[in-house]
Symmetry: C2
Subunit: 331 residues, 2 copies
Amino acid sequence: MKIVVDSMGGDNGVKEVVRGSIDAVNELGVDIALVGKKDILENELHKNNYHGNKIEIIHADEVIQNDESPAIAIRKKKNSSMVVGLNSLKEGTGDAFISAGNTGALLAGGIFIVKRIKDIERAAIVSIYPTKNGVSILLDAGANVDSKPEYLEQFAIMGSVYCEKVLRIASPKVGLVNVGAEKEKGNILVKEAYNLLENANINFYGNVEARDIPEGIVDVIVCDGFVGNVILKLTEGLGQSIFSTLKEQFAENFSSKLGALLLKSQLKEFKQRFDYREYGGAPLLGLKKPVIKAHGSSDALAFKNAIRQAKIMVEEDVINKIELDINNIEI
Amino acid sequence: MKIVVDSMGGDNGVKEVVRGSIDAVNELGVDIALVGKKDILENELHKNNYHGNKIEIIHADEVIQNDESPAIAIRKKKNSSMVVGLNSLKEGTGDAFISAGNTGALLAGGIFIVKRIKDIERAAIVSIYPTKNGVSILLDAGANVDSKPEYLEQFAIMGSVYCEKVLRIASPKVGLVNVGAEKEKGNILVKEAYNLLENANINFYGNVEARDIPEGIVDVIVCDGFVGNVILKLTEGLGQSIFSTLKEQFAENFSSKLGALLLKSQLKEFKQRFDYREYGGAPLLGLKKPVIKAHGSSDALAFKNAIRQAKIMVEEDVINKIELDINNIEI
């Protein structure tokens, strides 16, 4: 198995990508194809004393920046690490592709180059959502800000497959984000989606109110991309705001400082719950091959975990299972 | 000035409403009309040794329950404390109405009985949102789950008036909740709303991403009711989830318990940020008279603060100012 990795997309340069790839090769037994500037990558592998044959380099000398328009960048920058990587994936050089670069461009590139699975209407971004009990997944995390009920139904099916195969949760519970628990609540979109989800071949829990999301009462959280983006960014912002306020207050005087010191290990453990690096990246579901968006500020650990995630997606044949489930084909 | 107060809507019975009303009469110099069962209210006033003439009782012997269908309850329960109270407000017995009862019924009753201000398309629920710097207000908090761009424009104007007059923030900054900061981001609704807000007579900040909401970067947060409801409930749920996790971890062993003890005053202060009782209730803006939804579990302090809020709305003539601003009339 070979995972293609964009070495030029992240905020931390090639250093962390290369280290994460070496760790993955050693620990996970996969092959890696690193896409990027050949001389820089060779130099970096050398610095890390890697002389094995499980990492190959695919040369690409352009980079798509974060502020570039996704569709234009994909069309014009044929030699970018992202486009070269996606083409390698399409042509079968590798089994999955990971990039920490421009999310919109990765999505556009995934759709234009790798293409959507037959009968999938829209690809969705899946975010791993840390909860009190472990993790849930949320989709769509922002790819489709104007969704139709049918998209939400497909998100639910794709999310169920991912949850079952990659997170190994049997018969995952699927919840629809809504303003109330009752069936008749909500806007036009979610009311229609409710009817579709009720009749879909999934373990449909019903509506979930946003207050229940952090408790982890469902495994798959379904919503349109606008709402999903609001949920993820608010969770991030509120977490940061709470931490920074506590930090200021804990530094207030001698006894509060001592108190914080005594709680050091608990606070650290707590902070880990919100550490994205532990959870890998955000898979783009609905494409014909596994594509994973790694966090922009991924370090070696985050890259290694994203590679592990890609490996499981390939091993468990998630793409084929999605295609079968979308077309409601029993095997 | 007389504030009409529904004594039968809250989860805590008449006890807290009556105590809050007595405190308000003594501290704020307003008159109160308590709506509810006469004998029970007389008894409760007696128990509290109140024998003044600033609290009158308006008899009503029915209650609208929280699980009743709003429109039907308002139509059928003519003798409910909520309907009697709203009619008293409409007929001029009082200057504002407060209820801790069924939110949907209060909204429906407000629209059917008190009626909307001329040219207001939809009434909105305003929620006070505690931030790192103080408070912002958010509207709509859930009244309009299928909004049009024009509604969002009116929410922005109404929110600006409320913020300026009641929270006394000069030239309040208005932000539109969106998935990105740039003008061209978002779904169809917010893209069109952006254009309207840009040209409205408000201090438009631009788009705000959900991660910036807890920082308090704008004073007025504008969004449709579905998104607003998600933001408020997620904030509540995440706050609770974080507190309960910290609490468990702080009880882990002797040194963590000691640490938590040393941080007691800081943790208390922090918790107060999320204490809704300090902020009064949620005004329903767009109606011809001030109507405030108090939190279902309001205690005496929460009721007193909601009465204070109603008093300021009346004193500052918020309703007239909204009518002028909606019709863009300079005075």
